[in-house]
C-alpha cells in the first residue's frame, strides 16, 4: 500500500514548523514518528497535500523535572519516555504506559505528541495523560497557550489544536503513588479493546478509559464516586455510566461496558485505591 502523492517539507526548528503550517494551510499535516499518520495515509484515509516533517526538531525531545510537574517534549519517543530516569522516578505511570504501546519497533519511532494529537480513543498515552490531569502546551503564530488535557480531545481523531498550531510540550503532575494500567488485548501488540488507567495524584484519584467512546475520556462517574467515599469496587461498577462505546469485530458495546467495569476494578485494586 502506497500513500497518495504529497509534497514533503523538512523543518529543523519549531519556528520553521509553524511558518510551514501557516504557508501550506489546512491541507498540510505535521509528520513526527509517522506511526499514526503513515498507516492512515497508506489506507488513503488521510490524504494531506503537504507533509511537514518535524522529526529533526530535536529541541522538542526531552523529559525534565520542572519542580511540581514533569515536562515532556512533544517529540519524545515512546522508547525514550519508557526508559527516561525522570519519568521512571517522578511519573512512573506514564513511563510504564509508554512501554506498553505497540511493540519495540513502534516505540522506536512513535512520539507522545504524535499520539496525543492523533487523538485515537484506542491509544494508550491519551488516557494516561487524562488520568494524571495533564496540560498540553501548543504554539502557533499568535504565541503559546495551555490546554487542559480534559479540553484537548474534541472528537473522533480530532483535537483542540488549530491548523497552524504545534503541540510542543506535555506537562503532568508528579505522581509517585499507586497507579495501574489494565489493557485488554487479544494479541500482545494490539490496540486495547478496552483499557483502564488509574493514577493517584495527591489526594485525587484519576481514572481514564481507552476505547470506550469517540475520544479518549475520563471515567467521571468513578472519580466522583471515589471522591464521595465509595469503595473501589462500588466505584468501578460505574465505569461505563453514560458512555457509548463502539461495537466492532473485537467486542460489542455491551462487552466493552463489562470490560470497563472489570478492568477499572482491577486497576483500582492494583493502584491500592
Amino acid at each position: 500500500m502506497i500513500p497518495a502523492p504529497f509534497d514533503y517539507v523538512r523543518v529543523g526548528s519549531l519556528d520553521e514548523a509553524i511558518s510551514a503550517l501557516v504557508e501550506h494551510g489546512e491541507d498540510a499535516k505535521l509528520l513526527a514518528g509517522g506511526h499514526s499518520l503513515l498507516p492512515l495515509m497508506k489506507l488513503r484515509l488521510a490524504t494531506p497535500s503537504v507533509l511537514i516533517d518535524i522529526g529533526p526538531v530535536r529541541e522538542l525531545s526531552y523529559v525534565v523535572d520542572a519542580g511540581d510537574h514533569v515536562a515532556i517534549g512533544a517529540l519524545t519517543r515512546h522508547h525514550d519516555l519508557h526508559h527516561d530516569p525522570v519519568a521512571v522516578s517522578q511519573v512512573p505511570l506514564l513511563s510504564m504506559v509508554a512501554g506498553k504501546i505497540g511493540d519495540p519497533q513502534v516505540r522506536h519511532r512513535g512520539t507522545i505528541g504524535g499520539s496525543l494529537t492523533h487523538a485515537d480513543p484506542a491509544s494508550d498515552l491519551p488516557a494516561a495523560v487524562l488520568a494524571l490531569g495533564g496540560t498540553l502546551v501548543a504554539r502557533g503564530p499568535a504565541g503559546e497557550r495551555q490546554i487542559p488535557a480534559d479540553a484537548f480531545f474534541s472528537g473522533f481523531l480530532e483535537s483542540a489544536l488549530a491548523p497552524d498550531e504545534v503541540l510542543t510540550e506535555i506537562r503532568v503532575p508528579k505522581a509517585v503513588g499507586g497507579h495501574a494500567y489494565q489493557k485488554f488485548v487479544r494479541r500482545a501488540q494490539d490496540w486495547a479493546i478496552v483499557g483502564s488507567v488509574v493514577a493517584r495524584v495527591g489526594d485525587r484519584v484519576g481514572v481514564a478509559l481507552v476505547n470506550m467512546g469517540p475520544t479518549p475520556l475520563r471515567a467521571l462517574a468513578v472519580e466522583q464516586a471515589l471522591a464521595e467515599g465509595a469503595s473501589a469496587a462500588e466505584a468501578a461498577e460505574r465505569a461505563a455510566e453514560g458512555l457509548e462505546p463502539p461495537s466492532d469485530n473485537n467486542a460489542t458495546a455491551e462487552f466493552r461496558r463489562h470490560l470497563a467495569r472489570v478492568l477499572t476494578r482491577r486497576a483500582l485494586a492494583e493502584a491500592g485505591v
Binding site: I2, F6, D7, R10, L31, H35, L38, G55, D103, Q189
Partner: protein
Amino acid sequence: MKVKLEVNGEAHERDVEPRTLLVYFLREELGLTGTNVGCDTTSCGACTVLLDGESVKSCTVLAAQADGHSITTIEGLASGDELHPMQQAFREHHGLQCGYCTPGMVMAAVSLVKENPDLDEAAVREGLEGNLCRCTGYHNIVQAVLDAARSSREGAW
C-alpha cells in the same frame, strides 16, 4: 526529491517520490530483497531493519525520513562468509520454519540484544512481540535469541 542514505555501510543517493516507503526503497531502488514485506500495516515485523542501530518497521517509514541516516538490513549483518552471531544462533537452533519472518526476526533480535543483552526468556518473548511467525515457530527462535544474547554478554559481539 533526492535522498542520501548509508545502507550497510555504503552511501546511496537516489531521486525518489516523497511517498516512497523505506522498504520499497531498499527492495526496488537498491535491490536488497532480503527485507520482506509481510502485512504492510506495521503489524508483522517482516520488514524490520535497523535505523541508526534501532529496529524499525520499514513499511512505516518514508525513505525521506531516513535521509541522512544509516540503515542496516539483513544483507549487512554478516562479515563476508562469517555469519553474524544472531544469524549463527538461528542456524544452530533451527530458529525458522518457512523463513519468511526470519530477516525481520533477526534484525529485531539484534536490536533487542544490543539494547539489553541481559535477557531472560520472558524478556525475549516480550521483546519480539512486534514480529509474527505464522508457522508459530517461536520456541526455537527464542532459544536462538537467548543463545546469541549469552554470546553477546560474553563479549563475542
